[in-house]
Amino acid sequence: MIGTSETRSHRVKSRCPFERSREREGLGFARHRSSTTLGPNGWRVRCLFFAVFLASATPALAQSRLPPAALADTQLPDSRQEAQARALMETLRCIVCQGQSIADSDADMAGDMRALVRQRIRAGERPEAIRHWLIERYGNWVSYQPPVEPLTWPLWAAPVVLLLGGFLLARGRFKRKARR
């Protein structure tokens, strides 16, 4: 990704490939003819178009050229702290990829969030304090662990309600069978 974007932008910045190849091959006659039909400005306009199309064909440069942060993909020396960081990362949502945890995502921002988690864990901060700090900024959305609040009560109650319903249903059935 980084390699291709590098070559791509170099090509855009350098002169028009049409022009260069014609010069290199020394097609004096062709150049002469073209300059009479199109004129030097005509070629320049063509090259400009070429450059514009080349530039507009590469909108997905959405990746930084900087290397990942120091702690994005490097484990902490203390294995207990690394385990804490790892567990937290698996329950934090990546902001740009939205369907993945920051532990799973390859996005630059996920890497920077992993680095943030490891730095803070190394500094002795509790995982839940880091989660709280992120929720303060991005809302509950950033955490895969739903908090217990009125909005999520049905969510927490659902397993209990379903189990209870199943139990009552099964009991009714067994009773009827026994009676028969």
Binding site: S5, P59, A60, L61, A62, Q63, S64, R65, L66, A69, I95, V96, Q98, D108, M109, D112, M113, A115, L116, L134, E136, R137, Y138, G139, W141, V142
Partner: protein
């Protein structure tokens, strides 16, 4: 009673299908808004991103006058799209500072030379730490910061022509 119980699963299923179809048809809004809007900026101090501009700290945004804070990157395509609108805002007298995310100095300089430079200060945020502290979810984003350093408004994504009036209105509102 027995009849109702018999039909209940089908009714539940139909309800489920209706809900799923409704939500599939509704355009989803995947923007994640910063929860810092209405609250003070976090403390930060960033090194200059380019030699031609000073760096940016939270204190530089508490000048008594509202300012725009643009979060951008030279590697970000939509940031190119919003460049003319930022220049237009600058021409209308709106002061703009910026944070360059995960960027190299030479790339930022080339970006400014090519697409225009509406910024007074540009801080470099190589590891996205200040962006995360701001609750910003990507590039480009633009915040309105009032004179006391309170975040007043957040615009997510590139600024289109049609977004300029809303930004100016938010900036004007932040003066009071």
């Amino acid at each position: 009673m027995r009849r109702i119980i018999l039909w209940a699963p089908l009714a539940a299923f139909v309800l489920f299908v209706i809900l799923v179809t409704a939500y599939l048809r509704a355009p989803s809004d995947t923007a994640i808004r910063s929860h810092l809007v209405g609250r003070p900026l976090p403390q930060f101090a960033l090194q200059p991103a380019v030699p031609s501009h000073p760096g940016l700290g939270a204190a530089d945004l508490r000048t008594g006058q509202p300012r725009l804070l643009n979060v951008f990157a030279s590697w970000c395509g939509p940031c190119v799209v919003e460049a003319p609108q930022l220049m237009a805002l600058r021409r209308r007298g709106v002061p703009i500072d910026a944070i360059a995310i995960r960027d190299r100095s030479e790339d930022v300089a080339a970006f400014l030379a090519r697409y225009g430079d509406p910024f007074e200060r540009i801080g470099s945020d190589p590891n996205t730490q200040v962006q995360i502290a701001l609750g910003s979810s990507g590039v480009p984003e633009t915040f309105v910061i009032d004179g006391r350093g309170t975040v007043r408004y957040q615009h997510i994504g590139p600024i289109a022509d049609s977004d300029v009036p809303a930004l100016i209105a938010a900036w004007e509102a932040a003066r009071q």
